[in-house]
Symmetry: C2
Subunit: 393 residues, 2 copies
């Protein structure tokens, strides 16, 4: 009776959201501090003080009809100019406002970019481990979705990648710093990836686009994150302020198309069309202006770094195995039993909410989101200890 695909998606929900909702219930039952919720990437760090200051300034000083009115569908001109300038200052790519499209956050950036790029039946590749909704968004665009395996250190298995590129491949999603592993792809890895894509598309007579999903660009612990536009012409960057400004609920981000891309302005039009067809009239106006005012703000990563260090030290001592994350706020831990689902389920008995790796394309692991209070991490160590003791018993 109702749409089957959407009924299915609504009934199953994302594993992450499912666990998050369970956590909310469980906290109500046994108390907030008794549940160690590591499920969701909901930043625990407050936005920079300048964010709330901007909101109050804008509300106090700008005419409400223009502050809360429709902007152009692609976003306010001044906002897009400021963002283009900021990108150029940092990465020297020569982009202008006419290749920036403001969105309702990263998920909208991705659905719209995929919609604009894909014709039904073409293929999208994701590099495991990958954010599970990539599959959902790709299928909304009518794409086939295929996953490239990782190496043990969660970087790219280039042999597997090469074997999976055929004529139908239209796009590959690159996410670095990575959710769920926290891995940052080095300059060398990015160069090798781009060389392979260029060689393959030449060999096959196709074009393969990189969709660079980078909400975690600013959440790094020292590693440089290469800007893909400088390595590969056919690059679309999907950005969100959710993590850098700790505003995940406000849904504000953008799509930036590489000015070096042939037909970049045509892709931009397709982006405008996809946004329109999916019902995105414009990105939320107040937060467009907030993003503009805070374009130079640095994310406050010191707390995340401390969380990472505390968590990595403790889990490492307990015998858990993982690649130490260089960015984002996730730790991707190998299940002591080799089965991530079993690991996640067993953890629940200790009130530890960690997400099985299956949905991320790696069945052997589980994800711990450490964008939580340091106190929660410290409080959870006995539970992680008891959990490991069960495996050793």
């Amino acid at each position: 009776m109702f749409n089957e695909r959407f009924y299915g998606l609504g009934s199953t929900r994302s594993v992450i959201r499912e666990l998050f909702e369970y956590g909310k219930k469980r906290k109500a039952e046994i108390g907030e501090d008794k549940v160690f919720d590591f499920s969701l990437g909901n930043p625990s760090i407050e936005p920079p003080k300048s964010v709330n200051k901007s909101i109050i300034d804008l509300v106090s000083n700008v005419s409400p009809t223009s502050l809360h009115g429709y902007t152009s569908a692609q976003g306010d001109v001044g906002v897009r100019e400021t963002i283009a300038r900021s990108i150029n200052e940092r990465f020297s790519v020569g982009i202008n406002k006419d290749l920036i499209y403001m969105t309702c956050g990263a998920a909208a950036s991705l659905t719209i970019s995929l919609g604009a790029l894909i014709n039904s039946g073409e293929k999208v590749l994701a590099l495991a481990p990958y954010f599970p909704e990539y599959k959902v968004f790709s299928e909304t665009a009518g794409a086939k979705f295929e996953v490239v395996k990782p190496l043990d250190d969660m970087t790219i298995d280039f042999d597997d990648l090469s074997s999976k590129i055929d004529k139908s491949v239209k796009a590959i999603i690159v996410n670095s710093p990575n959710n769920p592993s926290g891995v940052v792809y080095s300059k060398e890895i990015i160069e090798k990836l781009c060389d392979i894509l260029r060689a393959k598309s030449k060999e096959l007579g196709t074009r393969i686009f990189i969709i660079c999903d980078e909400p975690y660009r600013e959440i790094t612990y020292g590693e440089e994150v290469p800007y893909l536009m400088n390595y590969y012409d056919d690059t679309v960057v999907c950005y969100s302020y959710s993590k850098s400004l700790s505003l995940p609920g406000e849904r504000i981000g953008y799509i930036a198309i590489n000015p070096k891309m042939q037909d970049s302005e045509k892709l931009y039009l397709a982006v405008c069309g996809a946004g329109r067809a999916y019902g995105y009239v414009c990105a939320p106006s107040l937060f467009q202006f907030v993003a503009k005012e805070n374009v130079s703000q640095k994310a406050l990563v010191a707390e995340y770094k401390e969380n990472r260090d505390v968590l990595c030290d403790a889990l490492s001592k307990l015998g858990y195995e993982f690649a130490k994350p260089d960015g984002a706020f996730y730790l991707f831990v190998k299940s002591p039993s080799g089965d991530g689902e079993e690991f996640s389920k067993r953890a629940l008995k200790h009130e530890l909410l960690i997400v099985a790796g299956t949905g991320f394309g790696v069945k052997t692991h589980a994800r711990i989101s450490y964008c939580v209070s340091k106190q929660q991490i410290l409080n959870s160590i006995p539970a992680f200890t008891a959990l490991m003791d069960e495996y050793k018993a």
Copy 2:
């Protein structure tokens, strides 16, 4: 190379948006006050003072990580409870929070509802005159789109409606107060509509859903607007705060499913799935809470009423023909030549931006949005006079 449908939609743009963008350019060329922009439904009335007060209160008093954090995908529980209560107080329908889904505004409400209801190839009916994007949103859902003609007074031609209902019809979009005509469907019209739908679905052995698009519910000048859930079980209400709270850029609204609908909870799950698949993670969080705080605010319609009266009086005296609007802030005027496109083009030479009726499904008319300053209306009268003089010459 890129997605053909979306490239097409991005290249042509909506006629309304096109004219709006032209107006912005033209104002820069010859001066803001020289261009009479009646193109867009961008409310000219400021939001109630309580709106900006709520924003400042929330930002000052609520923890920023919860104020700006993810809510549940369907919206914050407290927000949905408040909205359900408000609907019940006004319309006694017995809805609860589990049938309310917060959205990024009316366009999102529509794309998500259509997505949830439609299986590819089913048909959506719209009652002309209709908001042009209905076609775009219906086609995104994979629907065929068909238009029912209006009577001369812009109400429903029931004979035409009956003749167009076949087995493939899954939904009909009802928009009252109407954009672009300002017509409010009376209780008698709604009852007749519902009787026909019930009889036809019984005869054909199908279910036909009403999607009630009502961003203008609160913008009325005395007429009662029947609440569809009380007349027809298979009703989905798509609401937006854009017009009632003058917040069109902030993208905040909701979907409400009739609790009397059989399988209402299944449709709700399909709604959740469609929202997820289109990349709507949650409705903007700050404005969810702003909507909650302002759920009892009345729209400030006195200015619109004055605009309507001034405009109707002046245009009527000049010899323009139209049905006097009982709601919304649009006047749908018959072209003196009988050709709406020609009317809109000729008006442009007088710096009058009015939208041809073609896209609304009525080729003989054009739409005037009077959600502008009264001064603009007064200033535009000489231009409307000169325009009519041309037709009389």
